[in-house]
Amino acid sequence: MSDAATGVRSLADRIADHMLDASVLERVVIALVATALALLIGAVIVAASGYDAVEFVSSLVYGAVGNASNLAFMLRQSSMLILTGVAVAVAFRAGVFNIGVQGQFVVGGFAATLGILFAAPLLPNSSISAVPLMALAALLALAAGGAYGALPGMMKVYAGANEVITTIMLNFIASGVVYFLLDAYLRPEGAAAPNTEQFPDYVGLPGLVFESPSFSILGLGVALLTVAVVYLVMDRTGFGYDLVTSGYQEPAAKYSGVDPKRMIVRTMTISGMIAGLAGALFAIMILGYYSDPNTFPTFGFDAIAVSLLAANNPLGVIPAGLLFGGLDAGGQYIGFTLDVPSELVDGVIGLIVLFVAAPELFRAAGRYTSLGGDRE
């Protein structure tokens, strides 16, 4: 047991070390400044378009954290973004550009749905069945998401197909095929909407802290647990070392005994599995049924922004996911309280990503204003 304790302590030490690391600190500052700058530009655009900029910003904040239900919504979005963000981070870390998290997420959620819908009648119709059903759903989601991630991995390894492109195509294909199957085979008799039946009542995560039908603190827990596991694996295991090394410098990884092809497929599989798990969480916690994936939020794409804001560091995904969840929630709130079109918030998110992509910009600005340190 003391082994575990020292393990935890040294993990904590390492996290602290990381946080104190100058480059991490710089990263955080850049993320904050980028966000502030993007919001500022957003506010200026709002004002220039004849809306009230102050109201825009204050509504954004209020919509995210203003009251319990807003906070619940933000955390719900954040949970999804953290999970999908980690999925992206794993792949990017290993040097594989998995832009297909959205598709893996869709497929994972679909697999979870199938599991629940087909297994539920076989189990007693009571809450005893909840845990086995959800466990089954999660397993299926992991498997399906993993397989759907492995596919472009194998295409890359065995046919040299660029994964950026294949994964984007697979996103379109996932949505199209799932929509088709759903509409053709899973739509209940007589219903118009391309939705499956509602899951049994007992399937779902208990609200606990928040009284929201679509958010449970357990969902956030799943996301955080996933982050912790991924962080441990990356930082403390030989496999994680292999993975990260492959991302930094593939020839060196190969030299050290990594089979690069297998590593790509594994990485994509793991990334897809996490995305699939996000899909299961989405189906179970948020929807409670499954629907046309074309109407789903683009968590898988926003996750790219999240991961990048976090410099592809699994721990960094947590604050980044919270930030984007907040923007999402605030944006929605703006959509129905102000006349400001909510698309603006999407644009602001884009600006944040753009600025985060160019840390040099802030370093230069820092040097110019002689505020920042003089790195290099």
Binding site: R76, A191, S212, P213, P297, Q332, T337, D339
Partner: protein
């Protein structure tokens, strides 16, 4: 192009919904302060969003008409992610400033979420367009898409073998082919398609119906391509059920010098630049539905609208209206056939395939 400024004329609904909207709410905010018992209404879009020149805009238009007569403040909520409807609905239901008297939900995408929320918020009144939820606080309004599409089929089936020529556009009496362009290939639009086919066949069994789906409701380019392909294949008339993307069909009709049938609203009026090809439109009066529910809310007469309301030919809530330009050129047989079909449907001689909400 017809006179008048195009902002006014292109999309009556969209303009009312957008350009004038800030004004509207500005006004009502003031009138809210003036002391009267203001009725607050929120309307949440379908994933197609406002500006679709179809049911989102029509639904909004009905509310705006009501707001001209009554002291109503409208909050427009555009939300295109179905997974967010659950939260948007509950956030609106919980809202106290203002406290909404009515929340209008456009399209069946809201159904699942509303099943939970209608129960969770028994004091909140909801209007659900295109579906219904069996709760006392829900007014479900469904328009008989299948019936109006059948009528559109009757119009197309009647005209494809006849002669018509208007401003350089013409029908080929020797070809008996018509077309249909749908948005997303799914139950909802399949109902339009099958009923349209049935309507065509009801007139003339030998008419060939070409069908194409865009895959979404936004890509006018693909809509245009599909329609052109159908005109190439001999179609005289193409009916669309593709919301905003349907403009591409009219454009294709102009290029092919053929005709088209609009949907939802009288599109020869809402899109006057295409009036020379719009033979008629399959219209549903969603605006009247939202008006009705808004009025009932103002007048505290909920029971009049509560429940599942299916509005069809019998209620005069859907019909085919002839184009404002081309309509006058059409032979009388058209009106005769339309009327005959309407009666046959109402008294059950003809069963239109599918249902109001899908196939």
């Amino acid at each position: 192009l017809s006179g008048g400024d195009s902002e006014e004329t292109t999309t009556t609904a969209a303009d009312d919904g957008g350009g004038d909207d800030s004004e509207t709410s500005g006004e009502t905010t003031e009138s809210g302060g003036s002391g009267g018992e203001t009725t607050n209404v929120a309307i949440v879009s379908s994933p197609a969003g406002f500006g679709d020149q179809a049911f989102n805009d029509l639904a909004l238009q009905g509310l705006q008409t009501a707001a001209e007569e009554y002291d109503i403040e409208i909050q427009q909520v555009e939300e295109t992610n179905q997974s967010n409807y659950q939260t948007v609905q509950s956030r609106l239901a919980e809202s106290t400033n203002p406290d909404y008297d009515l929340v209008v939900l456009v399209s069946y995408n809201h159904t699942q979420a509303l099943q939970t929320n209608a129960e969770a918020y028994p004091d909140q009144n909801w209007m659900l367009i295109n579906d219904s939820v069996d709760q006392p606080n829900v007014a479900g309004y469904t328009w008989a898409n299948h019936q109006m599409s059948f009528q559109a089929g009757v119009l197309a089936g009647t005209m494809t073998t006849r002669e018509l020529s208007y401003e350089g556009n013409s029908l080929d009496p020797d070809s008996s082919t018509v077309g249909f362009v749908g948005g997303v290939d799914g139950s909802l639009i399949n109902a339009f398609e099958r009923s349209y086919r049935a309507g065509v066949e009801w007139v003339d069994e030998n008419v060939d119906v070409r069908v194409g789906y865009i895959g979404n409701y936004t890509d006018t380019q693909t809509a245009n391509n599909i329609a052109t392909s159908q005109y190439d294949a001999g179609a005289d008339i193409v009916y669309h059920a593709a919301a905003a993307a349907g403009q591409g069909v009219f454009q294709a009709a102009q290029d092919a010098n053929r005709f088209a049938i609009g949907v939802d609203a009288d599109q020869s009026v809402t899109l006057p630049e295409y009036e020379d090809v719009i033979m008629g439109s399959a219209v549903k009066y969603i605006n009247e539905g939202t008006y009705e529910v808004a009025e009932a809310t103002v007048q505290d007469n909920w029971s009049a609208v509560q429940g599942a309301n299916i509005l069809g030919l019998e209620e005069d809530a859907v019909r085919v209206v002839l184009g404002q330009a081309v309509g006058g050129e059409l032979p009388d047989v058209v009106t005769e056939n339309l009327e005959a079909a309407r009666e046959a449907i109402i008294n059950g001689d003809v069963t239109v395939p599918c249902s109001a909400s899908g196939c």
